[in-house]
């Protein structure tokens, strides 16, 4: 387990990512992205759709090659997926042909972990995400929220240093999402992992993260520390600092005038 905030877990140095379409047109999805994240930090990456948040995460995952610059986890340069990073995807990526337990054990089996140890590890994390009673179920027998918990358990079982989450709760209802936020924060607190959480939901970013990176047109336009006290309940989220942060984020991401934010703390008749 890594001690929180002691060393640089992840760093981007002048990272560029350019896509070439079949028509020959090129799109610069990431442009000169640089930042460093210490171990154990919870980082939210916020931006509008199509502005490069997921590309940034995929470059860190090793699923997307960069065209320039360097992505590092610790001292290792990243060019492919590795056991030091695990990912929860936006869409439902749980393997439907495997039982819940087999899904959780898939990564362990790939690493050659012995059967007994695999079983112990999967039992531990299935208990943690409250799915132990569904260990032998098919994913089709679970709700969307439960399948997200299976994906979380699979990531936890890998014991990777860096968790990558690409809008993992975007398709869930408000209450399920809130429950999963609480679960994720509990697990993060227990494990001290470094988390990258991509979202377009400002409230979600403010509830979860220590730090918010704002992405626009493939660039980091602002790097905001989130000092709101935890736990970030309804009262904290309705507080002046929270509203000010929201305004700052909207100003940076919606400065073309397309978004107007009403102030919920302002008095009214």
């Amino acid at each position: 387990m890594t001690e929180r905030g002691t060393s640089s877990a992840v760093s981007f140095h002048d990272v560029e990512c350019v896509f070439e379409h079949e028509s020959g047109r090129t799109v610069r999805a990431l442009d000169g992205v640089s930042f460093e994240v210490p171990a154990g930090q919870f980082v939210a990456i916020v931006g509008r759709s199509g502005h490069g948040k997921s590309t940034l995460l995929r470059c860190l995952a090793g699923l997307q090659a960069t065209t320039a610059g360097d992505v590092r986890v610790g001292s290792r340069s990243i060019d492919r997926p590795g056991p030091d990073r695990s990912m929860v995807f936006q869409q439902d990526a749980v393997f439907p042909w495997m039982s819940v337990r087999d899904n959780v054990e898939f990564g362990l089996r790939a690493q050659g972990v012995a059967k007994e140890e695999r079983h112990q590890t999967s039992t531990r994390w299935l208990e943690e995400v409250q799915l132990i009673d569904f260990a032998d179920s098919w994913p089709r027998e679970l709700s969307g929220g439960m399948r997200k918990r299976v994906a979380l358990a699979a990531v936890l079982a890998m014991d990777s240093e860096v968790w990558l989450m690409d809008e993992p709760f975007g398709s869930l209802d408000y209450f399920t999402r809130r429950a999963l936020h609480d679960l994720l924060l509990t697990l993060w607190d227990e494990t001290n992992k470094t988390v990258f959480f991509v979202t377009h939901d400002i409230e979600e970013a403010l509830i979860l993260a220590d730090r918010v990176l704002l992405v626009r047109d493939g660039r980091i336009v602002e790097d905001l520390p989130n000092t709101l006290p935890r736990p970030r309940d309804e009262e904290v989220r309705a507080s002046r600092p929270s509203v000010d942060m929201t305004k700052t984020i909207v100003d940076h991401l919606g400065s073309d005038g397309s978004i107007t934010l009403l102030d919920p703390t302002a008095g009214g008749d």
Binding site: A61, G82, S86, M87, F89, F106, G107, P139, R140, M158
Partner: protein, 307 residues
């Protein structure tokens, strides 16, 4: 019996359609003028089909034991007809079973290999697409010249037809596996070969199952076609003999028998392949049957299964 009664009670419209169709056939059988060229009525009434036409099948019993051999002056009997039909049906099923099984094993195996190795895909893709366009029935004479008009020749031909279908279907099934599953597998640390075996192949089974059901239908076309054109036994050969003697009654008997056997083959392949995708929701599985059934051996069969 109770099950049959329940089925009839639950599907009154289907039953009524069957009754109307059979009655219409019978009426047509009696009002259609008999052709001078034909040894039986153009539309054979049922009483003719079940008596004279059926009994005449005894002419196809080739042995001297268990029933008289009409080609050696023996009497034509119902028992001889039953034996003849059984003998030729077994011949057909034998060829079909060998051809279909070998075609499935080799077709899916080749498809998986071609889909896995890019260099093999580059080499094989163009010839495979050419073979897919080849009208298979036109290849029957070639196969019979090369391998003989016998069990080996017909089995290889049927296997070849199934192989071509399944190689292309398997490659497409693998190609259509969502990238998401592959990326998830890679992120969970699986090697390419493990990802292929444990993720890509199971995910491809959904689409591949449809192709297997199509192959079950195609295998009957290939078997009957091969027997019709060049073999001296089997239901296809019986059909050819019936056409030669313009015996419409026998044609009807053989056609109905082939349809029933094709339906049973479809059900067997459906039952066996269901195990490959038992993790799928039941509704999605029924969709596969509906599509494959309609495309392979007639919509009526798919509806029958669905009901």
């Amino acid at each position: 019996m109770n099950r049959f009664r329940r089925y009839v009670a639950a599907h009154p419209v289907s039953m009524a359609v069957w009754v109307v169709l059979i009655a219409a056939w019978e009426v047509l059988g009696h009002i259609t003028p008999e052709s001078q060229l034909s040894t039986s009525p153009l539309v054979p009434p049922l009483e003719y089909v079940f008596t004279d036409a059926f009994k005449s099948l005894a002419n196809n019993w080739p042995f001297d034991f268990w029933a008289p051999n009409p080609s050696k002056g023996g009497e034509i009997t119902y028992w001889g007809a039953v034996l003849a039909l059984g003998y030729h049906t077994m011949n057909t099923l034998y060829r079909l079973l060998f051809g279909l099984t070998s075609g499935i094993i080799l077709g899916v195996g080749t498809g998986l290999a071609v889909a896995y190795w890019p260099w093999l895909r580059r080499v094989a893709w163009t010839p495979l697409n050419f073979l897919r366009m080849l009208p298979l029935l036109a290849a029957i004479p070639l196969f019979q010249f090369w391998l003989g008009a016998n069990l080996r020749g017909s089995t290889v031909f049927i296997g070849f037809g199934i192989w071509v279908l399944l190689v292309v279907a398997t490659i497409n099934s693998v190609r259509n596996v969502p990238d998401l599953y592959i990326e998830n597998s890679r992120m969970l640390g699986a090697s390419p070969i493990r990802t292929y075996a444990r993720v890509v192949i199971p995910a491809a089974m959904v689409e591949l199952r449809t192709a297997l059901l199509l192959a079950a239908g195609l295998s009957w076309s290939l078997t009957v076609g091969a027997e019709y054109i060049g073999l001296t036994s089997g239901l296809g050969n019986l059909l050819a003999v019936a056409v030669f003697f313009t015996n419409t009654g026998r044609m009807v008997i053989i056609a109905v028998l082939i349809a029933v056997l094709a339906l049973l083959t479809f059900l067997v392949v459906d039952r066996l392949s269901r195990r490959l995708v038992r993790w799928m929701p039941k509704l999605a599985m029924d969709d596969v049957i509906r599509v494959a059934g309609a495309a392979s051996i007639g919509g009526a069969k798919a509806v029958a299964i669905d009901e």
